[in-house]
Each structure stands twice: as C-alpha cells, then as structure tokens.
Amino acid sequence: MLVINSEIAQTIRDFGARDYPNETCGAMLGVDGGDGREVRALFPLTNRRDDSPRNRFSITADDFRAAEREAKQQGLELIGWYHSHPDHPARPSEYDREHAWPWYSYVIVSVAAGKPTDMTSWQLSDDRAAFQPEDIAWAVPPGAIK
C-alpha cells in the first residue's frame, strides 16, 4: 500500500503535463512502515535520456545519490520513483521491468495528448519476473482538514 496525498499526486500529474511529450521523472521521499509507505515529498530529476526522452527516462547514479542526500536531510527515506508514459497507458513496459530494482515503488502517470490521466504504482517481484500492482491510498494533504 502506497499512501499519496492529493497535492503530491497533482504535482506528479502537473510534471507529466509540463514535460509532455517527453517523459518526466523523479524520486519519491517518504516513510516506509513495513506494511505500507507514504510519500511525503518529491525530488524532481532531469530525464538524462537526451536521445529518446519521449519513451525513455534515465536517472544517473549521481542523481540517485543527490536524491538520497535530500531524503536524509528531510529525515525521510528514498522510497520510490515516478515517471510518465506520454500517450501510453500507466502500466509498466517490459523495458521498465528489465531495468527495475526491487523494493521501490514505481509510480507511473499516463499523459494522453498532454493531459495527465491514470496514475498507478508497481513493485518488482523479488524474482524480477513481473511488476506487481501496488494499491494506492489517496490521502488529503497535511493541514487540509481544519
């Protein structure tokens, strides 16, 4: 179970629309409680795939380290990654699976003709054979309930 509040979810959608027709990407920082995890902040990153940014994204080892440092500074953990699928469903591709790491949550937002639509989350199985869907619990942002 991945908890995302509506403000953070909207920000991911906005990044997907902003970067359309290219893929957007970034890190999700939060807390991992074993049974579930919650996204508390985003750390947007530059898609380093200059050669094919419309259907690929890449986050370098240096960017990974920067995301880890940011998480540590905020007292959070690096719990996953978001990216967009321009004009493609919010389902992991075979390319996503081949390049995935276990444990992380992979959030995908579909962006159809520039408009963000579905958002899903996935985790790689321990044997690398498949991505498993991860339930998303939509929450309200902190302070939204007075």
């Binding site: 893929e23 094919s52 994204f57 990974f64 591709s93 044997d127």
Partner: protein, 94 residues
C-alpha cells in the same frame, strides 16, 4: 584485505537486512563474487543471465566508478569501500 561493501536499501532484504558487509578480497570482482556467494538472491539483481553486471548497477571503489578503473579486476586494498549505487531507468513501450 578487508573491504567494506555498501548495500543499497533496495537490496538489503536479500543481504540479511545489512547495510554493509565485509569480505577479504583482492579485487572488486572477488568481493562481489563473495557477496553473491553468501547472499545468492542478490545475484539476479546485480548480474545478467550471462554473468555481466547489469547496466543500471554502478559499482564504486571509494568514490571512483570501476568502469573508469579496471572494472571488476580493479585491485582493492585494506579499508577500501565498495558501493553499489543504482541508476534508474524505464519508459513506455514504443
């Protein structure tokens, strides 16, 4: 020579939940071989089926990417730290 291996969060579940492990190893490849020999479930995440380090797995000896050293044959010395640092990739099927 005792070298320290840093395991990324994503792989700790396959390494007894440890953040670091130590081995006596003469090269980076030797240390990695001992790591995957001790924790066999790590192997599929670090290596392809034909035994090459996966493209999105970055191995650093201290602060140097071993691709710019002697790759897996890079010699180690006592007190060195080997880090496994992920890069992240993916994208829509087209």
């Amino acid at each position: 020579m005792a070298v320290k291996l840093e395991i990324p969060t994503a792989l700790r579940q396959f390494a007894g939940k440890q953040a670091t492990v130590e081995f006596n190893a003469a090269t980076v490849g030797d240390a990695l071989k001992q790591l995957t020999g001790t924790y066999a479930d790590l192997r599929r995440h670090l290596y392809t089926d034909d035994g090459r380090i996966r493209s999105f797995v970055n191995i650093y000896l201290n602060d140097e990417d071993i691709r710019y050293l002697q790759k897996e044959q890079t010699p180690t010395k006592d007190g060195d730290t080997i880090s496994i640092v992920p890069s992240i990739a993916g994208g829509a099927r087209i």
